[in-house]
Amino acid sequence: MATRLRGRPAHAPGPTYLAYTPNGKKLITVGTNGAVRIFQHGSDDEPAIIDVTTDNHTAVVATNTFFLVGAEDGSVTKYSLLTNSMEEILVRCSLPVRDLSLSRDGEWVAVASDELEVKVVDTGDMTRIMHLREQSRPVKHVSFDVSGSMLAVSCSDGVVYMYSLSSEQPQLLKRIDGLVKTLETDAEASSKVAWHPDGRAFVAPTSTRDIQCLARKDWQRQKAFSGGHRADISAVKWSPNGALLATAGVDNSLCIWETRSQRLVKTFEDINHTILALNWHPTDNLCSYTNHNGELFIREDFVPSPSSSLLKIALHPAPMNNEPLSKISGNARKQADDRQKPDGVHRSVEDQYLDDLLGPDAMSEDDAGFIEDDDGAGYAEVPNGFGKRAAGAVNGLPVKRHQPYPSWRPQVQEAFQPGSTPWRGNRRYLCLNLTGFVWTVNQETHHTVTVEFYDRQEHRDFHFTDPYKYDKACLNEKGTLFSCPPSAQSQQSATLYYRPHETWTTRMEWKTQLPAGELVISMSLSDSCIVVMTTAGYVRVYTLFGVPLLVHRQKSTPAVTCASFRDYVMTVGTGPVSGDGTTRLLYSIENVRRDEICQNEDVLALPEGVELRSVFFSDKGDPCIYDTSGVLLTLLHWRTPGQAKWVPLLDTKMLERLASGKKDETYWPVAVADNKFHCIILKGGEEYPYFPRPLLSDFDFNIPVSSMPANKDDDEDKELAHQKGLEEQFVRASLQHSLQRDLVENTNASSAQKAEVSMMERGVDKVLLQMLAAECREGEERGMKALEIAALMRDRTGKMLEAAGKIASRFQRDILGDKIHQLAERRLVGLVDEEEM
């Protein structure tokens, strides 16, 4: 086909508009005269013409089966593409229609007219209409977002109104003032909002002739495409995958921008009339536009060759601030390099990348929790393995692009810094624990870091301007540790910075630079040492005042995270691939002062499809992990090599507060202290805490032993619940007892701690006594179980068994009482040893 550019006189001179069908086969143009033209894609034949009764058309939108045309007489007419004939007049306004927007599924059309209200009409049933009435002046443009749940209304008063249409009654979510220019509804210039295909952001032309990107989540300004136009912008359109942006100006200009760098790819000079409507072909490197002179132009090879490969990426993320651009950020994925090679052939890789990007730990502004599929229309897609919607294949992506070889790569858990959150807006928490919290604000040229403490008497909050852009921090009672990535401007390599809270000399802050090219992956601060894991695979241990104690290479790399308590350091790295395609995580625990390894490359027990959320030590010094399925586990017998095992302490999915099923909340782990799990409750699908700092909540441990009976009012169930509660209490008490015994046996324990062990032992036996009593109450036939319970008693003095015998006799279970008595006697003379039991 010829690449020569020629205008196709489509309509009488005057404003002309066009729309592609989503499958890209047909192109529909409307203009001032009373005809609609339908061009076949890839054919130079004369277009089909539908003669219509209206003229001075102002807008057209199309699905694969029908299209809608708005006209100055206020009507919106529906035409069938199957028969090329008029079907019905969908809606009639009293004033000229200015713009139409169709939801992605083609079910709803938004109609902007010179009336004050915007009508959103069901294209199948014209009696279903929603009215949006919040704006004070006529509306110039309307624009549905990708999911069809939100509508951006650009009003002629210079305000963009954001409506949520997910409920029956549309709700105004936000008035965005000062974004677009105040324009008359019939102006050539445009204030139309263009949603990025990934749904997280949108752009709009500003009065400064830039194209400003805004995040959907917080309506904050993100990056801008600036400096390309010298006059008002008349049309803005994303390429189908969002990797490129085409804009046209009223000064006869047409530009292509690259999304990633926000730079101009090409500016076209050969435009003679103002482009009023612009449309990318859904699949090909082709763009069509109509101008003010009734002409249609179809530009083939629209994007010049080096950038045209960008069109083949599945979906490009929107240009947001504070994206995880590189692996230095603790929250970035390892696959971030994929961005650099958009070769488009390995589509699965790209999709994988996107899934990763929208994964639970990237700062995805995902709207999965936002759209509720309450009417079953299916616009909320089924979540994939990450609990997110699948990377929406852009409409009509060519199926023929087969991947020659299936490429596979294991799913790697990305590195993280415990207690930190990713950027949201321009803020993030660097560290959040029971001592206090460190947060930073991105001020473009520098950051400002604030450290606040819970105990304001003991410590004083501080705040400083941070030119190094620290991206990780640790905080404890003694000091604060920061680290920053290397900066290109100051030629500085990655730096550690430690600031003690109080000293008896002058304040002794110190900084140390890592060797060039080495980045900090994760670090931790304890009462006596500093541990840093770097990209070179090293674990570097420093004393609190910066004396390097130890450097060793981690056995399992890439490193994931680390934690420390006094001299014990726990490092977590990536191990071999397991059956489900994810990599196993391996942890090691060592005592850096004594240079002893407690656990060596042991497996971090996580079930299939569950990732590690956080690692920390409890206040008693036992390692704890919290995973993405909401289970808190602790490590038992970890001081003896080879003996360690992970024991669940609490399954937050089984909390009583969630039992009603009404609450949708998750828990962000903070710490384990005082035999309680301290966390932040996140509601409404949030993944991370944000500002203002939410309150800490605490939950008692509850080992998932058995499910609780649902009906608590029933007497029988009450009894059962009592027994189950006792069972759970028994398991929990024995766990705490063995944790405490480990502690006492392996450290220089104080006498109070030793006394606590025997107290806990008695505690376990007391729970057993209660269980015994419950069994005795049940009846004679439960005697076997009762005897078994009696045999579990740990007490060696015989007092507990004596008490058990008394309980049995009180309930007149004489046989049981005799047997318990015999057991006690055999124990006393040492006939029953551990093995036999």
Partner: protein, 254 residues
């Protein structure tokens, strides 16, 4: 007169009584446990939430040594829910219920009626535990709701998410409940009653004057009526002979 105050408690006294309620405090500095007359308090260790009596919590709040975490029923969502209940037509003539009573503490032999057991300690509204702490039930107003929320909003407004909305909802609630109460008394008849379940302490104190007046009025009416009836009966018994004498006496009485 010895005491120039009307019978019952003044609002200030009700507010004072309310200060014994435990509220949840998030300490901002350490404080050892205190030996108070009402029992020892827990030591305060930031950032762990600690239950403290309201008066102490307000004192610490004023000294900026603690934050008060408002109880569950004192947020916009819960109050809206309660207000919906109060304004619903179907529940127009009852007040929203008070918090659930705890299980009776006795293992009494009188199982069918645990409240009759001698060793039972049954708690009822003014003395319910956790009525105002963060663990409070979030769909019921406790006995001291009005005075407690007033004190918290006055002294610890910055610990609320949206103090203005909470304030507005509380005012609405108070007006709705007051009007219900007044409506109840309008139809009050001799021998009839108004169900005041779920009424708060301050509300009782507020309507005491009014209700006292109404009830006294009823009692006077009733005694007069009774007196007249007695008199008529006597007249019937005695015949007309002594009527003049009786009339005189009646005149004296009135």
């Amino acid at each position: 007169m010895a005491l120039p105050l009307p019978p019952g408690l003044t609002p200030a006294e009700v507010g004072f009584l309310c200060e014994m309620e435990l509220v949840t405090v998030i300490p901002r500095q350490r404080l050892e446990g205190l030996e108070l007359l009402g029992g020892p308090t827990q030591p305060m260790i930031p950032p762990f939430a600690t239950p403290l009596p309201l008066w102490l919590a307000l004192l610490l709040k004023k000294q900026r040594r603690a934050n008060i975490s408002p109880p569950g029923w004192l947020n916009v969502e819960a109050l809206t829910h309660i207000l919906d209940f109060e304004t619903d037509e179907r529940t127009a003539d009852v007040f929203s219920p008070s918090p659930r009573l705890p299980q009776p503490t006795s293992t009494a032999p009188l199982e069918e009626d645990p409240y009759l057991a001698h060793d039972a300690l049954e708690l009822s509204p003014p003395f319910l535990k956790d009525a105002a702490t963060a663990q409070a039930q979030d769909d019921a107003l406790p006995y001291h709701w009005l005075e407690l929320s007033h004190l918290l909003l006055t002294h610890a407004a910055d610990d609320f998410d949206d103090p203005d909305a909470v304030h507005r909802l509380l005012r609405d609630l108070r007006e709705v409940r007051m009007s219900k109460l007044r409506k109840g008394f309008r139809v009050l008849d001799a021998g009839a009653g108004v169900k005041m379940n779920g009424m708060g302490g301050m509300e009782v104190a507020e309507v005491r004057g009014f209700v006292g007046g109404v009830v006294d009025g009823l009692r006077i009416n009733r005694s007069r009526e009774e007196a007249r009836k007695e008199e008529e009966a006597e007249q019937r018994e005695n015949g007309l002979g002594s009527s003049n004498y009786r009339d005189d006496e009646d005149d004296d009485m009135l």
